[in-house]
Each structure stands twice: as C-alpha cells, then as structure tokens.
C-alpha cells in the first residue's frame, strides 16, 4: 500500500531554503515506488512562494498562511502542523535540522509517540531497511540507525544530501489556521542579526578565525574574504571565549558542525573539540604562524604565516579568480 511522507518546508524572506529541497530528496530516498511525497509550508504572507510551490517535485503542497505564524512559535507551529498531520496521517515526516526544525521536530515526535533520527547526513537503502547516517560526538564518529516503528521523524543536516532540480506539478491546498484554545508562548521580539547573511551550516565556504585573530576588529579581513567567496564566517571556541565574536559563530563539539566545500582556518591551532566540528569539510586550508599547530595535520593545504599578511593577499587573488568565473 502506498504511504505518504510529509516534508516540512522552511522559507525565509519569501524563498524556500535550500535545505527544503534536500529534505524533499531525503523523503524520496526514504520512500518506495508508489509512495506519495507531500509538503507543508507554514508562515505568514506566503503569496510570493506560489510559483515555487506549484513547481516542486512533490504530489501535494499544504499551505498554512496566517499572521500567527509570522515568527516561529513552537505552540502555534505545532498546532498548524498538527492540522495537516490529522488529515494526512503520514508514515514519515522530514524536517531540516535548522533552528526551526531542531525545535519543532521533537514536539511533533512526542505528540505522535514517534521515533526520531536527528541531524542525518546520508541515507542508504539496504536489506536491513533504510539506514540513516548521522554524526555522533560532533563527527568524531558516525552511526547508522533505522526506525523500528511508524510514524517516524527525520531531521536532515543542511548541505549534505544532494538534491536534484526535478520539477513537478503538485496540487496546492490552502489550509486555514485554527487558533488553539490557549497559547502560553508569546514571541515578543525577533532581532534579525543574520539578515541577508548566509547561515554557517549552509555555507559552501567557511572562513573561521581563532585566537590568532586577536580582536573583534581582527575578524574584518576574514569577513572580506568570506564575502568574496560568498561564504560565512565562523570561529573557534578560543575566539568566542576571548570575546572577539558571538558564540553563535562557534564551530566545534560544543557549537556548530559544518561541512562546507572549503574551510579556511585562520589563526586556529586545531584543538580536538574544534576539529570535531569541521573535519568533514571537503577541502581544509590552514593559515597559522606556528608551523607545529595541529591544524596542519588535517589540512589539505597549509600556509605558515601571519594571517594579517596572508588573508588580504588571498582575498585579492580569489577576487581575480571569481571575477573571471
């Protein structure tokens, strides 16, 4: 019998986030022939998404568009999603492992008494069933898990599951939001610090600074380099602890785990906790004054030198290459 897998989309500034396409792919990889892939979008003022939604490679799209859903509120969002779940009864539900997905998925899992596998980076089908790969100990090891029951819930890490550009002609259904009888959570204020900036976990290029950056001011050249490459800036715990930057930029075992195509470590010594958060990057470049720094052991390319001399030169050189691309 065919089953339904529901993908919970994420949109920002009138666009679907890339991780949504990756989540659709994760749903496809978790499905068998004849299964239906449906999508739910929650938010406010979603009219601008119409064209995108009606060409997605899924069978059906549910849109819940209400001012109550303008900002993420766990109670309002789980209420809206429950409306879709009640009518759909999907076997699987897929979220992005993002600020919203990380928060909402466990609420839904608990509501449905479902098993959840979080932060999935790869999906394989085998005789044992569908195997979900995920990092543990911040990438110092990997485990493969299966679900033992239905329904099940997945969150997929951005930037890891390759999506295709397939298009379809889904039916789009608008679901009117039913306010819950009581709501105990009020969002008072949302300060968009990262507006227009790329999220670290989704960036293809990460330029990260450590203690060697020396000051908050010292992050400027790193930001310029990241801008030229369309990337994001990150940091080691040392740089965050020293107050050079916000903890939201921290990469490592406590902090974010990133898997970009290029990781440029600037003035980072390479403590095991930091390496855990970035060692799965495709290409690692390390720039450090100390030729003995452990970061060089895992780097694909190493430059021994003063980051304040090397980075501006590197920025110039990349600028030339990017201009000719």
């Amino acid at each position: 019998m065919s089953k339904t897998i529901l993908v919970v989309a994420e949109q920002r500034d009138g666009k679907l986030r890339q991780v949504t396409y990756e989540a659709i792919q994760a749903a496809k990889l978790s499905s068998s022939e004849g299964d239906l892939i449906h999508l739910a979008v929650l938010g406010s003022d979603l009219g601008g998404l119409q064209d995108t939604l009606s060409s997605l490679d899924v069978e059906k799209v549910f849109v819940v568009d209400d001012t109550d859903l303008e900002n993420y509120n766990p109670e309002a969002y789980s209420n809206a999603l429950s409306q879709v779940l009640d009518s759909e009864n999907p076997e699987g539900i897929v979220f992005g492992h993002t600020a919203v997905g990380r928060d909402l998925a466990p609420v839904i899992s608990a509501k449905l008494n479902a098993g959840q596998i979080s932060d999935v980076t790869a999906i394989d089908s085998s005789v044992e069933g569908t195997l979900y790969t995920r990092p543990i100990y911040a990438g110092k090891a990997f485990e493969q898990k299966t679900f033992q029951s239905v329904p099940w819930v997945l969150t997929v890490r951005p930037n890891n599951i390759e999506s295709d550009s397939a298009q379809g002609t889904p039916e789009v259904e608008h679901v009117s939001y039913q306010k819950p009888s009581s709501i105990r959570t009020v969002i008072q204020e949302v300060v968009r610090k990262t507006s227009g900036k790329l999220d670290l976990t989704e960036a293809k290029v990460v330029v990260a600074g450590g203690r060697g950056v020396k000051s908050a001011e010292g992050f400027k050249p790193l930001e310029e380099l990241a801008d030229v490459l369309g990337g994001a800036v990150g940091a080691s715990r040392g740089a965050c602890d020293a107050g050079y930057c916000d903890y939201s930029l921290q990469i490592g075992q406590t902090g974010k785990v990133v898997t970009p195509e290029i990781y440029i470590a600037c003035g980072i010594s390479g403590a095991i906790q930091h390496v855990a958060g970035m060692s799965q990057s495709k290409i690692i470049v390390a720039i450090n004054k100390d030729s003995e720094a452990p970061i060089f052991k895992i780097a694909d390319y190493g430059i021994v030198g003063d980051i304040f001399e090397v980075i501006p030169l590197l920025t110039e050189e990349f600028r030339k290459v990017v201009a000719t691309n």
Binding site: Y72, N73, P74, S78, T98, A99, D103, P106, V107, A110, N113, A114, G115, I117, S118, R134, I136, Y137, K140, A141, F142, E143, Q144, K145, T146, Q148, W152, R184, T185, V186, I187, Q188, V190, V191, K193, K197, D199, L200, T201, D246, Y247, Q250, Q253, T254, I262, A276, Q280, K282, I283, I284, V285, K297, D300, Y301, G302, I303, G305, V310, E317, F318
Partner: protein, 255 residues
C-alpha cells in the same frame, strides 16, 4: 520554586573516540556533565539563589552517572535522582518517556536542560519532555528572567535573537552564552556528600512496557575516514597564495 534540571553524563570533549567490537570504548575515558547541561545547572543555582526554592538534578543513565550528579550537587543543587535500569531503551523516545513519568509525579515549576548532548547529539529529550508534560518550552536560550509566574527568555536561532515569554511551569534548553558555570568548591564537595541522593529503577515508576522500547536502533558505528596528508605550501607568501588559489580552482575545482 521547584527547579528540575535534566542532566546527562557525557565523554569529556577532549576524549578521542575509539571503537571496539562495534561499540565505542569507554576504557580510561573521563566523563563530565554534558557541557550544555552544565549551563542549565548554573542557571538553576542563580535562579534559586535569587528567588528561593530547591533544585533537583535528574538523570537517566548508567550507574556511573552518579558522579555527574554528585558534581551538580557540589556546584549547589539540592537533591539528585538517578534513574538507572537496563530495561530502558537508549533512544530519545524512551528516555523522555521515563523522565516524563518521573517528573509528571512531582510538583514542577521549572525544568532546565542542555539544548543537546555532545555525545549522541539528538537534541530531542528536553523538548520531547516539555511536550509530554504539556508545558511550553523555549529552546536554545542565552538569557532567562523569571518573575510573577512568567519567564522571559532570549533564544538563539541560527544567530538571530528571539525574545519569548512563556507562562510557568515551562521548560528551557540552555545554549552557550547563558552563563559561566561555576566549579564545585571544596566546601561544596563536602556538603554534597550529605545531600539527598535517590536511585530509582523502573519498578519505582508508573510506566508501561511499551514506553521502554526504543523506536530507533543503531545498526553500526564507524570512525570518519582519515584525512590524507596535506600539503604545506612554501616560498614567498604571495606565491603560496597564488598556488593555493590555483590548486583550489584547477585541481580541487571547488571555486
């Protein structure tokens, strides 16, 4: 105010991971309070000290978790509860069900925990628990203020900041930046020995067998592939930079 902190004991973040017979080996490993749970313990102490009340630290895990709970008591928590039983499934579904069964029978005003554990990294138990206890939650908080039966929390959402107000009882998961956890003091360690420590098994909880069976199963475990030895560039800095960019563009084709 009754403040409950859910706590997990994890590997020290400096530990290397080794696999033997399909299991992560624990030989010679140092265990600590999950670093994010440590922020939760510290926050609980600050709230209790400012507003009065009691802090209960609760853990579901093996016997060795006793040590982490003792550390929390030495930091300043008032009572500890360890729920330890081999029949408990190891996934987040089972652990949250156990915690909900225990906390559901207590009078709870506030629950604090870390926003994920640095070992299994599921980031589910706290939020699942809030839902099972029918409490509002705010995840990944960097600030918390409690007054007049309400809590206002600032939450980190991928670098954006959200200020959220909830009515108590409520659950919060701690993110880095919330506070600076204290070290246990010597008098704290001495006092901890006399604080109430309760150990429970499943027989002490009102829970159905179905709630104990994990809904997910680990099939295998592996270490990440070793990275190949990299290349140290040499020569004038400007030449190194040119060569690096050339390699990234023409050899690795990543730009």
């Amino acid at each position: 105010m009754n403040i409950y902190v859910i706590l997990k004991q994890t590997f020290d973040t400096e530990e290397k991971i080794a696999i033997e017979n399909g299991q992560i080996t624990e030989d010679g490993v140092q265990f600590v309070i999950n670093p994010y749970d440590e922020y939760a313990v510290e926050e609980a102490i600050q709230i209790r000290d400012a507003q009065d009340g009691s802090i209960y630290v609760v853990s579901v895990g093996p016997e060795r978790s006793t040590e982490a709970l003792r550390t929390a008591l030495a930091m300043g928590a008032d009572e500890a509860v360890l729920i330890s039983d081999e029949r408990i499934g190891s996934d987040e579904y089972s652990v949250s069900k156990i915690l909900a069964s225990y906390l559901g029978s207590q009078s709870v005003d506030l629950v604090l925990g870390g926003y994920f554990s640095v070992d299994s990294g599921g980031g589910q138990v706290g939020i699942r628990l809030a839902e099972l206890l029918d409490m509002p939650h705010v995840g990944s908080i960097t600030e918390l203020n409690i007054a007049d039966g309400k809590a206002t929390a600032t939450r980190d959402a991928e670098g954006d900041q959200e200020t959220v107000e909830v009515t108590l009882p409520a659950l919060f998961t701690a993110q880095q930046g919330l506070n600076e956890p204290r070290y246990p003091s010597l008098p704290g360690i001495m006092k901890a020995k006399k604080k109430p420590f309760t150990q429970l098994s499943l027989d002490n909880l009102d829970i159905s067998e179905g709630d104990l069976v994990a809904k997910t199963e680990r099939k295998n475990i592996s270490l990440p592939p070793e990275r190949e030895e990299g290349r140290m560039l040499s020569g004038e800095v400007s030449d190194q930079v040119k060569e690096l960019v050339d390699q990234l563009k023409n050899k690795s084709k990543v730009i």
